[in-house]
């Protein structure tokens, strides 16, 4: 029993935090088009983490990808890493995987009739597990930095792999943990420095206890997300239930963390200028994309209680 990252994994996390922090700072030009730095991600090896070495990848696994996804959430990274690595990669054959690792193809997947990044990726894994060209109608999304669209289907090309739902959910859970961690830190920083009635507002328990509750939420969400990531990486029999549990819990935790952080920030947190609303919108996106938390809990109920008779 060893539920901790090894030194290489911790180093990857530190590197990702630093690299992303420099390129995607909080004071970036949020409303301008953001560069997804795809070639640089390929250079770093992030696009080939779980692609085999003889296919041009790094030959690691989903745990390392989950580490990156958490950090991409923390930085509110705009590009289709989640779509390519989290949603599509498991369905792809060797040639497509090599192209992904090289940064040559961006992918997404169709889930419940919606395709994230439809306008900016090359290929889409459709609902039947076929590859399609990314074409169709673009729609407004709750998170403008993560657009959605409806696929215009062609004949499609069958793909050798499977649509790996637990993997996609575990990926979203990891990203949600990163979001929650970031807005918790913003809330702490604000509570330490903002003074009212002559004291930093963090001395008031009505404020500090909200942040303590967020901390508890984040740590529990993190535990579930890492558990799910490990199950997916190891193809463990609990992967399905763990990923459903992790996505439901982590997405809700991220939404709550944002809401509490906005409250702790007071009027500042309600402005367009402050980046909190952007994290909030990403959290809402993660909560709503695919299956919502209440649907996921019913799946968990089927797994732990058995499917009800006659329903």
């Amino acid at each position: 029993m060893d539920f901790a990252f090894n030194e290489d994994q911790l180093e990857l996390k530190r590197q990702a935090r630093a690299w992303l922090g420099e390129r995607y700072p909080l004071d970036r030009e949020w409303d301008a088009a953001q560069d997804d730095r795809w070639a640089e991600l390929a250079e770093l090896g992030w696009l080939g983490v779980s692609v085999a070495e003889d296919q041009g990848g790094v030959g690691l696994g989903f745990l390392e990808e989950a580490i990156l996804l958490e950090e991409l959430g923390y930085a509110l990274y705009p590009g289709p890493y989640l779509g390519t690595i989290g949603f599509a990669l498991a369905a792809l054959g060797p040639e497509d995987r090599t192209a992904v690792a090289a940064g040559a193809t961006k992918w997404s997947a169709e889930v419940n009739g919606l395709v994230p990044w439809l306008g900016s990726v090359d290929k889409v894994v459709d609902m039947d597990g076929n590859a399609q060209d990314a074409r169709g109608e673009e729609l407004a999304s709750v998170d403008p930095s993560r657009p959605l669209g409806r696929l215009e289907r062609g004949n499609g090309t069958p793909l050798p792999g499977r649509r790996d739902v637990p993997r996609a959910r575990a990926a979203m859970a990891a990203e949600a943990v990163g979001i929650a961690q970031r807005v918790l830190e913003l809330g702490i920083e604000h509570a330490k420095t903002r003074e009212q009635f002559g004291k930093p507002i963090g001395v008031y328990q009505a404020v500090s206890h909200q942040l303590a509750d967020t901390y508890a939420d984040v740590e529990l969400a993190r535990s579930l997300a890492y558990w799910a990531a490990w199950c997916v990486a190891e193809d463990d029999e609990q992967a399905t239930v763990a990923a459903a549990a992790a996505k439901a819990f982590a997405a809700e935790a991220a939404v709550r963390a944002c809401e509490r952080s906005i409250q702790v920030h007071g009027g500042t947190g309600f402005t367009w200028e402050h980046p909190l609303h952007r994290f909030y919108k990403r959290a809402l996106w993660l909560e709503g994309f695919g299956s919502r938390p209440s649907e996921l809990r019913l799946e968990v109920a089927d797994a732990v209680l058995g499917v009800p008779v006659g329903v």
């Binding site: 060893d2 963090g202 993190r222 558990w227």
Partner: protein
Amino acid sequence: MDLRDTQEEAAFRAELRGWLEANLPGERRGGRGGAQRFDDAFGREWSRKLYEAGYAGLTWPKEYGGAGAPYSFQAIFYEEMARAQAPGHVGVIGLGMAGPTIMAHGTDEQKQAHLSKILSAEEIWCQGFSEPGAGSDLAAARTSAERRGDVYVVNGQKVWSSFAHIADFCILVTLSDPDAKRYQGLTYLIVDMHSPGIEVRPLRQITGEAEFNEIFFNDVEVPVSNRLGEEGEGWQVAMTTLLHERGTLGFALTAALDVSVGKLLEVARERGNGDAGARERVAAEWIELQALRYTNYRALGTLQRTGIPGPEGSAIKLRWSEQNQRLTKLGRELLGGDGILDDGWWHHQQLRSRGNTIEAGTSEVLRNIVAERVLGLPRSR
């Protein structure tokens, strides 16, 4: 990262599971947890058996008679005890709090006198920290210890003391210097509970049972050689005790919760299985249990790598207590009209759970601890 048992862990788990199967009488399974008063001889006998089989003091160093096992073995011990619904060792205060405090601050004589007897359940210990006027605010303790030659003369009252009615010794926080600055006038004593002048009265709680006691001290003479640490340094010694209380608590709590969630799943299958709302709420409790379980494992991972419990553990007791309250309500609700009956389990669990957010650190104090020590927010007082 590997969530499977190592070969050694798997072997230990299998051996313990087999031992419990062979040694735990069926009628002693499925107790109601903390509410046992351990008045009968079984408690000590059972504890003695656990000791003889090598399961007491698993993480204690070998030089003090422990098994010197990694923390993961302690975690497995709690899991398997919960799985078998086995009653715990009656010496939990000695094993988890007094023993480690004596190891850290005790003299050689104190270690010689007590540590092996704590392991073997020859000595049962209780804790004298809370007072009627000092609950969360331990530094406000008023039980006095007045130095007279080779003894301290102790007067005062302690409250919420588990096991005091059967205990042989008490770890006691006293005020030895009422004029000293806050935190500097406290002295930590080991008190023989059979001394003249000690009276123990059961404290009846909202369940109707008396799981805890009040202890009255009336001119009780405690040899100076029974002091742990220096005079006036009782606060630091008490912090060691509380650190150890928190160190192993998470697994014990989660193990108990595992039993309760199991019962909740049973009721849900029997009563509320077609109701999507009920199924969703039951699933939420199962998910929260896994979240606590894996947070324990993460804290354990940090502990095994660094020797210090990880900060993530500080959220566990807070969330555990709130979950236990929530799920006892849900259990009753699933029983529908029969939920009004005292079925001997859910009614008791619901009442008992109200203490969970108060005992071993109120939720308010725990949130302060997280805010100040983990998040680094400014102190609120």
